[in-house]
Symmetry: C2
Subunit: 403 residues, 2 copies
């Protein structure tokens, strides 16, 4: 069994890095705060006897030797970056559950049959740089390394430059870790486990995600002198599309549709906006339904563009297909061995495990979080809930190593 107090203390120590005044964290990928969080993780892993490797997209791998070091290692990992107004648990819980597994093995001098690896993936959140799960996506070969390193944030700063600046642009080749299974523990980020009063969610599926950049190109002019029929207002079409995203979601079972990001040019109240850019997101556990939703969005944008004679560019730059987790039965078995209540569940969020599932048998372990709230500074899971998840992670990894 892992040590609940130690796990909690580590979570609280990590949460100091980028702590916000409302009790959350703001630790965007590639920032100085991301560096501090990574440094702390590396120091903890080294103290527990690991060797540490950094790859060319900044993913960190801490390796603990086993009995047979030629056999593929059993790995776990998650992320340390957060949303701008994120919580203390999203991602961090998975990383520190891994550290707690490592410390438990280390202090008990347990020699596992295979090596074990503990990883931190670069920019999982997709907030500062897009898409999300960027480090694991590059690792799994879904994204091109050079393209991703060149991606820029809102201010034109490149990810590659930031990784270099903070000392995490490593030398390890992409995809070169020798691993045989991957597990990720994570808070559910939704309300179901709490509602159903279950300790563990055995994640069967990660739902599909489509991300878009939408750009409406109008013409700037004076809001007080330009008659309605002569306007090329970029703001109103953007509003219609945002409202329609909600309608698309409501028309389809389990559909989700969101705009979280918007920029208005020149953003002056008496100038009709000449350009509005914003994000659109659609999610569904069924790829067929998600495709229908996608088609509805595209044709809606085309209609608005035609009816209003205004330029609308829709760039569907990221499609993440629903993924099944083939090692979920290992998670279930470990949960049952430990006697915790559980249920099957699907993940609404994308996770690094979703890309690792391309490469090796992968399983995900969800724990409840308060009121299902995540991507919010008040995000919370209790010390007990965290300990249960870390124990399931420990035994899932041990079982896989023994096989």
């Amino acid at each position: 069994r892992i040590n609940q107090e130690r796990l909690w203390a580590s979570l609280m120590e990590m949460a100091k890095i980028g702590a916000t005044k409302n009790g959350g964290c703001n630790r965007l990928a590639g920032t100085d705060l991301d560096k501090q969080a990574r440094d702390l993780f590396v120091s903890w892993c080294k103290e527990a006897g690991c060797d540490v490797y950094i790859d060319k997209i900044g993913n960190i791998f801490a390796r603990r030797s086993g009995k047979d070091n030629r056999a593929p290692a059993v790995a776990t990992g998650s992320h340390l970056d957060t949303q701008p107004t994120g919580g203390k648990f999203d991602g961090v819980f998975g990383v520190l559950a891994g550290v707690e597994v490592l410390r438990t093995l280390h202090e008990n001098n347990i020699q596992t049959p295979t090596a074990m690896e503990f990883s931190v993936w670069t920019n999982e959140e997709g907030s500062r740089f897009q898409p999300a799960m960027q480090g694991s996506g590059v690792y799994a070969g879904r994204f091109d390394l050079a393209t991703e390193l060149n991606k820029t944030d809102e201010n034109g700063v490149q990810l590659g430059d930031e990784l270099k600046r903070i000392g995490y642009l490593g030398k390890e080749e992409i995809g070169s870790r020798h691993i045989g299974a991957f597990f990720e523990a994570h808070i559910e980020q939704g309300p179901i486990l709490e509602d159903e009063n279950k300790a563990i969610g055995v994640v069967r599926l990660g739902q599909g995600i489509r991300w878009y950049n939408v750009e409406v190109n109008g013409r700037e002019s004076h809001s007080g002198t330009t008659p309605m029929h002569l306007r090329k207002d970029a703001m109103v079409p953007a509003s219609l599309i945002i409202a329609e995203l909600e309608q698309i979601a409501l028309r389809h079972e389990n559909g989700l549709g969101t705009t979280g990001f918007m920029q208005v040019y020149p953003n002056s109240r008496n100038t009709i906006p000449g350009k509005v850019t914003f994000s659109a997101e659609l999610r569904n556990p069924s790829s067929d339904t998600l495709l229908t939703m996608h088609q509805e969005l595209i044709s809606f944008c085309e209609n608005v563009s035609r009816d209003r004679d205004i330029g609308i560019k829709v760039d569907p730059f990221w499609y993440f297909a629903p993924v099944e987790f083939s090692a979920s039965d290992d998670v279930k078995a470990a949960t049952e061995l430990l006697g915790y209540s559980h249920m099957d569940i699907y993940s609404g969020a994308g996770h690094d495990a979703c890309y690792m599932a391309d490469l090796v048998p992968t399983g995900m372990i969800f724990i409840p979080c308060k009121n299902g709230i995540s991507h919010n500074e008040i995000e919370y899971s209790s010390p007990e809930q965290c300990a249960v998840g870390a124990n399931v992670l420990l035994h899932s990894m041990l079982q896989a190593s023994e096989r």
Copy 2:
């Protein structure tokens, strides 16, 4: 007659200050660039024999003595601040038409019956600080001096501090200029004079304006895990209100409705926005119609708030009632004396003259601008069109001085 080449050269010289790469100007109120523009105006007025006074809200008054310096002066003025992607003429034309009137009197050694004053009003645009026509509004007693000096921009910087920093927080008491009439020359900023092929618009009315800050308060949560029915998304209500502003405008003759400014928190694509703030603007030449539009907006916001159980604050922080210009017959007489074509027109935009009309007989002179485009870097009026406007300004002022 004024000197067309000299007027044009001054316009082009002023346009260098804050010049944008697309041929416009970005010279927000209270910035270093605003200071440079003010300094240039002051130096030109001093060269032409004026004394210069700065008041406590940063308005500049350059005074040229007349025969009877106890009689109230005849004044003109406009503004040198611009939109973030503004043009070379909006405001600047009126100021430099004044400078050209001054130079014409100066080089011909004309002693006018009364003194003449040439002014620059602080923050007419209302882009960086709200409301618009802030300097003239304070001067006319519509706004409280201390309140306005404490107003902050998006980054929390105070207008008073900026004026002090750039050396334009003066000592003259508010409202203390001894003037008897005010004229402002301005580009039309709309398409009517061009369409009707008239050289001069005799402005009879400034239409009514209502400005609002709208704040939608939702709850941040994860866009991938929060079911639609559990969301408190601040973005969708904002979109519905923006789309409705257009509908309100279309339902009423001469109605205008616009959102030009928006900020989204935390502005991350996979976090449901917890807060969205945006501007709403309604305009109409009829105060009754504008009131109806206002009521429609308020009740729409209340309905959205109730139906979605989400907090929506609507702050109607500025109402500018339609204003009639009592000195427009002087403008018309000067135009006819000079033999230029003209028509009566109303102003869609607010102008400093609208507040000066509270205090003294006031007239406005519009010249055409290309395709009616303003608040855009491509804004354009020709050297000939500018010269016509400055000549009408000269003779309107001379007539008023002689009376």
